[in-house]
Symmetry: C2
Subunit: 195 residues, 2 copies
């Protein structure tokens, strides 16, 4: 049977790595940033706009501004982009088993297995500094960036789904990668799924 | 190394069963209702009072009433009971590896591995009706009972910890037993712990 798995994640907790490795193990496709390109191809909206609005909502003043550039129905660009991405997510899920990271896929799809991965701030800063060793501004700046990305993802999720980001009951399995690492989380998902 | 595991759970989701089976697999003691008896033995409070106040807080009017029967420090009975149970939980954790169900143990202890187990209402009603086949009032009444117990547990947890019950980041691993059953959750915990 087809298995569509969505991964919601706190920034720096290893959600993308978990998705890539899980996709390899299950031998199914993986979509994260790829969704941006696919949604742009699938719609008449420029890829640049997708990058600009990816997983964050637009504040009211910006909304008025971008309104002017929106189509005749005056639907704000960020909403058009959400709809275009949702359409691509639904098409991918209809097509067969896959793993989709972020972009409210857990709420857009109805039969997916939904994962949430998170970690304490210290583990996430350490992980990100290891992934981006050229980052010279250090831990404090990384912590600020992590909080900022999380805030945007949370706002985006709550705006488009009306649900609380990180409420356990919204997902089937929620894992702290700070304690068990991405390795431990990967083992847990495979065991939970009976793989 | 000692491993203390706490299990928070929605009523009917199989938290107790998960704890019992996990304790068997890890060959460590398991505490749930047993805590009531132990806390009563450890304090000068009657076991009956522990049963009465187990995992629910007392509303303001009741508080005034029970106040009169409290000790000279005028600490409400429900708070005295919380303190007595917390002391027992800390002693058990100091003593060695164990599994503790409910009673805010995740917030009382600092180095525990904290699990949260939950499920959709339909799965929980089905599970409880199977466990209590003599229950003649049926699904509707069971659903009412589940909501009532959950509400009390949630209030109790939030009152004594100041934290949100069911917020994924409060726990290391959160599992929906509706999708994978207690079997799947048990496999996931063991895999996550590297057992």
């Amino acid at each position: 049977m087809d298995k569509v798995i969505t991964i919601s994640r706190e920034f720096g907790s290893g959600g993308r790595e978990l998705g890539v490795r899980l996709a390899e193990r299950l031998n199914i496709p993986f979509y994260d940033k790829e969704l941006i390109h696919m949604a742009a191809e699938d719609s008449n909206i420029a890829e640049e706009a997708f990058r600009h609005y990816d997983e964050h909502i637009v504040k009211s003043l910006d909304r008025q501004f971008y309104h002017a550039f929106s189509d005749v129905y005056k639907v704000p660009m960020s909403d058009q982009i959400f709809v275009a991405q949702s359409n691509v997510i639904r098409k991918l899920a209809d097509y067969g088993s896959c793993i989709i990271v972020g972009r409210c896929a857990d709420m857009i799809l109805s039969d997916s297995v939904n994962l949430f991965i998170y970690a304490d701030m210290r583990s996430r800063v350490k992980r990100m500094l290891k992934l981006e060793p050229d980052e010279e501004s250090g831990g404090k700046e990384m912590e600020r960036r992590i909080r900022e990305v999380d805030r945007k993802r949370k706002e985006y999720y709550q705006y488009y789904t009306g649900n609380s980001w990180g409420r356990a009951q919204n997902y089937h399995l929620c894992m702290d990668s700070g304690l068990a690492g991405v390795d431990g989380c990967l083992r847990a998902v495979l065991a939970y799924l009976g793989e």
